[in-house]
């Protein structure tokens, strides 16, 4: 085990970090201002998928949670539960990709843990990351501050991660295979921050959230509950890519309910949507950002969708797992 940790794991995170000699705890320097702290576990199968792998996903997942809380990630811990029999080169590849992701996000991996469990008691590899970030003022106001007329923005085409995983896991043989959107959201958030300066330091962003489990729909429902209004989106304005739409149609799934891993929802004050979209489009990660709807006075449904023909319908959260239809 020591050989695994010192020979395989530590060298990949060793660049001037506290991890070089493994102490029991990383000692972190003092930081001014508020801190944000988050944790997330990753159990994705397969471990590798078009556009990413579990290592990159685990780092960006935690980084993005910090980013949408208005924080800059500083330190990350990374814990591994390894199923006996996982080939070492596979582990090495995943660790390298986690290290590269941390570097891209400007964060250091400073602590970790490794456990090995018997074969068939885990699915290859489970990864847990926790992250600490420094909150940059001003932080988003929070979804409870959403008002009627506020505008809803999505930072890019939706549903890419969930479809990429499903197609890879079930070997559906789509060619080319759909790619995950797994990406770091720090730059899009920074673009918004810069744009806020253009507004004389006034914060126009009410809320930000990466649309992971349950997709855009889940975030909309959470926000609707927080603010007590109805969040309404227009189907024809929601960005999707042709391959994701095609695969979702084929599988009987709604891209609005499918997980993203590098795409976020942003709510901004009424009248500032266009400026926010312009700012987001400065980042390559969010170059397809679009206004997709607005906050309305609370109707019967917390979240609604306007279809292309004009009818307005409730938009429900997905219940249970994604079960594809059969014909």
């Amino acid at each position: 085990m020591r050989e695994l940790i010192e020979g395989t794991i530590l060298p990949r995170f060793g660049h001037d970090s506290e991890l070089r000699a493994p102490p029991d705890a990383a000692v972190l320097p003092q930081v001014t201002g508020n801190l944000a702290f988050t944790t997330d576990s990753f159990v994705v199968s397969p471990l590798f998928f078009p556009g990413g792998d579990i290592g990159r996903l685990a780092v960006f997942g935690t980084v993005n949670d910090l980013a949408v809380a208005g924080a800059l990630p500083l330190w990350i811990s990374l814990s591994l539960i390894i199923e006996e029999g996982l080939p070492i080169p596979v582990l090495e590849h995943i660790l390298e990709s986690a290290a590269a992701a941390a570097q891209e996000a400007g964060a250091q991996i400073v602590a970790g843990d490794t456990k090995v469990v018997p074969a068939e008691t885990a699915d290859g590899l489970f990864v847990t990351t926790s992250g600490i970030g420094r909150v940059l003022p001003p932080p988003p106001l929070g979804p409870e501050t959403l008002h009627v007329g506020d505008e809803l923005i999505v930072s890019g085409p939706i549903g890419r991660h969930g479809i990429a995983i499903l197609v890879a896991r079930e070997q559906l043989g789509l060619n080319p295979p759909p790619e995950t959107d797994c990406a770091c959201l720090l730059d899009p958030v920074q673009q918004l921050r810069d744009a806020e300066l253009l507004f004389g330091g006034r914060c126009v962003v009410r809320a930000m959230r990466d649309a992971t489990r349950g997709g855009v729909t889940a975030v909309l429902h959470e926000w609707a509950q927080a603010c007590g209004q109805t969040l309404s989106v227009r189907e024809s304005d929601i960005p999707t890519t042709p391959d994701i739409r095609g695969a979702a149609e084929l599988l009987g799934l709604d891209p609005l309910q499918i997980a993203c891993e590098g795409t976020m929802l942003v709510a901004v004050k009424s009248g500032t949507g266009k400026a926010a979209v312009r700012a987001l489009r400065n980042s390559s990660t969010s170059r397809d950002a679009a206004i997709i709807g607005e906050v309305k006075k609370r109707g019967l449904a917390p979240v609604s969708i306007q279809r292309a023909l004009g009818t307005e319908q409730p938009l429900d959260e997905l219940s249970g797992a994604m079960l594809p239809r059969i014909c």
């Binding site: 095609g246 449904a301 023909l309």
Partner: protein, 384 residues
Amino acid sequence: MKHLDEFRDPKLARRLVDEIRRTVSQPRVLMEVCGGQTHSLLRHGIATELNEVVELIHGPGCPVCVTPAEAIDFAQQLALEPNVVLASFGDMLRVPGTSRSLLDVRSRGGHVKIVYSPLDAVDLARHHPDQHVVVFAVGFETTAPTTALAVLQAATLGLKNFSLLVAHVRVLPAMEALMQSPGCRVEGFLAAGHVCTVTGFDEYESFVQRHKTPVAVTGFEPLDLLNGIRECVNQLEANQCEVTNRYARSVRQEGNASAQEIVSQVYEIADTPWRGLGVILKGGYRLHGEFEAFDAALRFETILRRVDDRSNMLTVDEQGSQTGCPAGVCPSDDCRSGEVLRGLIKPVECAAFGTRCTPDSPLGAPMVSAEGACAAYFKYQRTI
């Protein structure tokens, strides 16, 4: 994707809606056969747009809704057997049998595996010779070729640990049964485009002539559906009836000959029970005698008999209650899914709809499935 955007063009759709409204001299009653069409009609707001001029009665074309509760019970029992894996399409998992669903059984340790293609189940059997893989073969003429192909593959590979629980159904006999049922108000049909892609539409000719109802072979996108509706309405207004193909980009008159060939090689037509509709003459398939080694009902006969006995007991109980459902059809007294499946009522007319019966806690199969009429109403037709 180009096809999707083309066939969802709101301007063209609006034009077709207006044209249909202008053409209709009296309210017309049409049935869309397939559950996929039901969902599309409601999702895109077409049913609402045509309100007052065309009433759309939702047909029984939801494969998991019409799979008999007894077949689901049998599947559950198989999944609980040691060394048996039940391979099923995902849609089937949440559908209640007489008392519970395959998902419930899985959470209690039952071996239920979701497959996207029955051929995956053949692979599963090949790689796990110590397990017996049973495919829950449900669905219409659309899925029958794939399960038939799986049997042929298993036979070629000489697999002894592979079988089918056959619950396949055929759509035209069900249309026939509906037309003959008392109180049927249907004046014309939107035939299921996917089914016709396999079967072609020659066999609809005699149906049309006997019942004097137009049949339009129809697709699933808004413009496809409006096209099919316009065709039926035009014929009704002109006092005509014929079969027309409004889904020509997918359907040919003769259908898919190789798929038909595979089906007839493996299956023979049989009288078959449908949930909510009872036994329908020639309403489904069973395996040909030469493939009986792959018939789970024969291979696991003792288990089937045990399940049958239990279901019959439940059926007797239910006969005593005031359900309005055929005996053994509905898992709950409150549920009127049998009437929904026969097009006699709209889901919202059921007292349990949206209150005691929701997709999260369904009383009947149509509230569960992505093709079910109750689920479609719950999803798209609740008041905003």
